[in-house]
């Protein structure tokens, strides 16, 4: 058997071990699995995966699907009207296909027309990888926010030991809907984490997301947003990598209609032998006149061995638009360090203070005070523990 056939063979075994589902769901799984076998795992020869090698995932022998959230609903019980949303938005890549092939239950949120949900809705995914087993989890989230409705969503991913999380989140924002979304990735140091999120924004809908990547050995986030007329998307992110961690953030903002605006700010802190990728694609379709789009990626590189690849990709087909982008890669400012030291603050503390200040810019934008405090605490512990972060 070839290596590829062998990889797929392992997954076939896992796939066929599943309990059979209702016909409509089984059909969805079957076609997704067929798609997965056809595509296989991407390699670094694929432009989209040039800097992220998923061979460690492709070669691993995963055993057993991790249990879903107790609060999840079986996909089979999803109202017929919402089934049509499943898989309609997410791009049809190998990982999304694999997620759908293992579709069993789902974190499902529906906010009725005009309803304002004040309390943040928290979705917590936890996987525990036991010694000797290598579980795979395929968290699926569907969020349907009807026209004029508002809600706040916090997705958190955590776990222990070795495992593979392959998450797919689809968000549908009706006309004028307002969604404040957060994704906090705090996977175990050994975990593989692949996450795809696709957002469809109706007319004048407003979507904000903050994507915080702190854990995991190998992490890839794909975020896509499609904007209708007058829609607004804010896509911010913070990634902290150390040791041999690798985090890849790919975003695609697709301005399909006029008068849309998007703001994107990703900040990264890299230390040790870690590596990170930021690839931000902005598409402005021919119809999307008066689009206003801004993209910024800033990186703080604290060691000689850390690597960052950052790339803006602007595809503009309209002529009356404003699109700006910028990327910076830098080190801690020597003058600021000296200023702090000259007041008695030790070099290590001065470095962590300035590093934290760099991250604080993103943390300050988080609107949920409890989440902000929690993250500040996590970051300060992280900087403290490494000392020379």
């Amino acid at each position: 058997m070839t290596a590829v056939a062998e990889q797929i063979g392992n997954w076939l075994e896992q796939f066929t071990q599943q309990e059979p589902a209702e016909p409509w769901l089984q059909k969805l799984r079957d076609s997704a699995f067929a798609r997965f076998t056809e595509l296989g795992f991407p390699t670094t020869r694929d432009e989209e995966w040039r800097y992220t090698n998923v061979a460690p995932i492709a070669r691993a022998n995963f055993v057993g699907q991790a249990p879903g959230l107790p609060s999840n609903v079986p996909v089979a019980s999803l109202p017929e009207i919402d089934r049509e949303h499943l898989g309609r938005y997410a791009p049809q890549n190998a990982f999304v296909a694999l997620n759908t092939a293992f579709l069993r239950d789902i974190a499902f949120v529906r906010v009725a027309r005009g309803t304002v949900v004040v309390q943040p809705i928290e979705i917590n995914h936890v996987v525990s990888g036991q010694a000797g087993s290598l579980p795979h989890a395929h968290p699926r989230t569907l969020i349907v926010v009807a026209p004029g409705a508002q809600c706040t969503i916090v997705e958190t991913y955590k776990g222990t030991g070795h495992y593979f999380t392959n998450a797919v989140t689809e968000i549908v924002a009706g006309d004028g809907a307002v969604i404040d979304h957060y994704k906090i990735e705090r996977e175990s140091p050994e975990a593989f984490h692949i996450a795809t999120m696709q957002v469809s924004l109706g007319r004048s809908a407003n979507f904000t997301t903050h994507n915080i990547s702190l854990g995991g050995a190998l992490v890839r986030n794909d975020i896509g947003a499609t904007l209708s007329e007058g829609a607004e998307a804010t896509v911010n992110g913070l990634y902290l990598v150390n040791g041999t961690q690798h985090v890849d953030n790919h975003t695609v903002i697709d301005h399909a209609k006029p008068h849309g605006s998007s703001h994107e700010l990703y900040k990264g802190i890299l230390d040790g032998h870690a590596s990170a990728v930021f690839n931000g694609r902005i598409i402005v379709r021919k119809d999307a006149q008066k689009t206003d789009s801004k993209q910024t990626n800033k990186n703080l590189v604290l060691s000689d061995d850390a690597v960052i690849d950052t790339k803006p990709e602007l595809q503009i087909f309209a002529d009356d638009v404003r699109c700006t982008h910028g990327a910076t890669i830098g080190q801690l400012d020597a003058e600021s360090l000296f200023y702090l030291q000259s007041r008695g603050i030790g070099k290590a503390q001065a470095r962590s203070l300035l590093t934290q200040a760099f991250a604080q810019d993103i943390i300050d934008r988080i609107k949920i005070p409890e989440l902000r405090n929690q993250l500040e605490k996590v970051l300060s512990e992280k900087f403290h523990e490494h000392g020379n972060y």
Partner: protein
């Protein structure tokens, strides 16, 4: 024993020599003014004493309170009681003034075997000093120097000095960019700190600061060397005759501003 003793100090930045043999002795309780045209090495001397790594000391010795100052890290110098009021205080977005100053004070207190202060005690302690410097309480929650006016930055430096209570304060062109009211306020803050245990080195280009902070000694620095020393009347001589009266060409020196 002198608090500070500088002997034949040489320093370079890149491959350019800026300090070409400085000798200076400062006793506790004294205020020394260092004057000189732009590029004479005044600011370099101040930064070298505070431990800025940008400058390389290529020769000479500096003894502070009996210790080899040049062997100490910048933070250890601060903990031992050296304070540099910066000519250009650095803006640090994302770090609040309050957090910064409390961290600084507590590190220094720890070094002096004093108990660390909690937020309440810290606020209590600094309130009066803020008022004295005519500083608004809201400055505490703002990031360090970020968005401060030139005058606010200079006042913040003197305020920090008042809080950290150094044994040797080095004021690097603290008067530059200040209007006369701000200058009087800053000078009053400095004068309030004069004591028998504390020494000060006041670096300035102009005499006007020295009518407010009256020095015990005045030294004239030119081309990396102290070319003349005297009492407070030397500053007045300079004011009347300019550096040219001492045979110092200002224009030529200005090229080498560090």
């Amino acid at each position: 024993m002198a608090l500070l003793e500088i002997k034949d100090l040489h320093a370079t930045v890149g491959d350019r020599e800026i300090l070409k043999g400085i000798d200076l002795t400062v006793e506790a309780g004294e205020v020394h003014a260092i004057m000189g045209p732009n590029g004479s090495g005044k600011s370099t001397l101040a930064q070298v004493l505070a431990g800025r790594e940008l400058y390389h000391v290529t020769g000479g010795q500096v003894t502070y309170d009996g210790k080899d100052l040049l062997a100490l890290s910048p933070e250890d110098r601060a903990r031992e009681g050296i304070f540099l009021a910066f000519q250009y205080p650095v803006e640090i977005p994302g770090v609040s003034n309050m957090y910064f100053l409390k961290a600084a004070l507590n590190t220094i207190r720890k070094h002096r075997n004093l108990p660390e202060l909690d937020a309440m005690d810290f606020l209590e302690r600094i309130r009066e000093k803020m008022t004295a410097m005519n500083m608004d309480q809201t400055l505490l929650n703002r990031p360090v120097n970020a968005g401060f006016s030139g005058g606010e930055k200079k006042r913040n430096e003197i305020f920090q000095m008042a809080v950290l209570e150094p044994r040797l304060a080095i004021l690097d062109e603290t008067d530059s960019g200040l209007d006369i009211d701000a200058l009087k306020l800053v000078a009053a803050g400095v004068n309030a700190m004069r004591s028998a245990e504390r020494a000060m080195i006041v670096v300035t280009h102009y005499q006007r600061l020295l009518s407010e902070i009256v020095p015990d000694y005045v030294h004239v620095l030119a081309d990396g060397r102290i070319v003349k020393s005297g009492g407070k009347e030397l500053a007045l001589e300079l004011e009347a005759g300019g550096y040219a009266a001492l045979g110092i060409q200002e224009e030529a020196e200005a090229v080498g501003k560090a």
